[in-house]
Amino acid sequence: MLSLTAPHRTRAHGWPAGAKLGALACATILLFALDSPAAMAGAFAATLALYLAGGGTFARAGLRRLWPLWPFVAILLAWHGIEDNLALGTLLALRLVTAVALATLVTMTTPLSDMIALVQWLATPLRRLGLNTRPAALALALVLRFVPSLTMAAGRLRQSWRARSARKGPSWRILGPLAVHALDDAEQVALALRARGGLIEGTTSDGT
């Protein structure tokens, strides 16, 4: 399935995920401590430089992901402009864009497998306490499988709806059959899991 990790490998792809997340947390705290527009502009420029260090394609892909923020930047500038405090508006808008850009940078350079490994490592104390984290891991894997299969089912339903109807375009009418399909699929996978021994791992299953 599609992920937000940049396909083009950068040096940062190999760094440990935990270190990148730690650095992100520190940088974000620092960002909220800055209160001069000039310093914030500096932080923004430094973040931009990090994107450019990944190469042109990488930087363009990253900036495309920041694009949905523009209405909020416009609102912040307009609001503070009306109140005659454009300096504060600029500071807040720059902070918003820089904070999102830094976090996006970590997501773009960290493969999903690294993130999952980190979560598993963070859950080690829970396992020590005797909590079974296997169902959570299995649920995660199931979602990754269900998303494409459900998307395909929706595509098939849309096609057959178009074949029957004179109107064009998808209709909310496919939602009903799609939901029934989802319930049936979930029941069947549950049955298959149980037939293969289920989730039991030393614990008892109540069979429901």
């Binding site: 399935m1 599609l2 992920s3 937000l4 990790t5 997340l21 992901r65 920041l66 949905p68 923020l69 909020f72 609102i75 609001w79 807040l92 918003l96 904070a99 999102v100 850009a101 830094l102 976090a103 996006t104 997501t107 773009m108 960290t110 999903l112 993130m115 999952i116 979560v119 169902p135 649920a139 995660l140 199931l142 979602v143 990754l144 269900f146 998303v147 459900l150 998307t151 929706a154 909310w172 939602l175 009903g176 939901a179 029934v180 989802a182 319930l183 049936d184 979930a186 029941e187 996978v189 549950a190 049955l191 899991l193 149980r194 289920g198 989730l199 299953s205 109540d206 069979g207 429901t208």
Partner: protein, 181 residues
């Protein structure tokens, strides 16, 4: 047990797939996506606990870096963006939706689900969403609320749809609607 697990995973996937459907634009130019309909359905069909878990699973996968939020958004940037409250509010919204649906077990299932969707999928979700927006943008709660009121009519349509779909599912697969089982 296995059934609870696959149902939770399936509804997490359903929330994602409904977010992939291109948004419909209402008469007055506001785009609406079906993603929050998925959150409502998780609550109305699975009930409070399982519905909340499904939305939590969806949120977790999004933050780990899958582009599953409507518009193909995802990753850690979500946590710093103005819409953070809506994303983090999904589990609470699904839980509240399921809680109300289960509590109104004496009402017809479609009505109970619709009421649950309005309280959880609109009330609780907007409470979280507006609070997040006011914190990130540094504006008052009322000002942040003004920015999102245009989306409420679309969500009311979705709540009605959630009620109708839950009724239909209850007729088609009564045993699978866990909030009533």
């Amino acid at each position: 047990m296995e059934r609870n697990l696959t149902m939770v995973a399936m509804f997490a996937a359903l929330i994602a797939v409904l977010g992939l459907i291109p948004p419909i634009t209402l008469a007055f130019g506001v785009p609406i996506t079906a993603q929050s309909l998925g959150v409502m359905l998780a609550g109305t069909v699975l009930g409070a606990k399982r519905g909340g878990l499904a939305a939590l699973l969806f949120l977790g996968l999004t933050l780990l870096g899958l582009p599953l939020l409507s518009g193909g958004r995802g990753g850690l940037g979500v946590l710093a963006s103005p819409t953070v409250g809506f994303a983090l509010g999904f589990p609470a919204a699904a839980f509240a939706t399921g809680f109300i649906t289960e509590r109104l077990s004496r009402l017809p299932v479609g009505l109970a689900a619709g009421a649950g969707a309005i309280v959880g999928g609109i009330g609780v979700l907007y409470l979280c969403g507006i609070t997040g927006m006011s914190l990130v943008l540094g504006r008052s709660w009322g000002e942040a609320a003004l920015l999102v009121t245009a989306f409420i009519p679309g969500d009311l349509i979705k709540a009605v749809l959630a009620g109708m779909l839950t009724l239909m599912l209850y007729r088609a697969r009564p045993r699978s609607v866990l909030s009533r089982a």
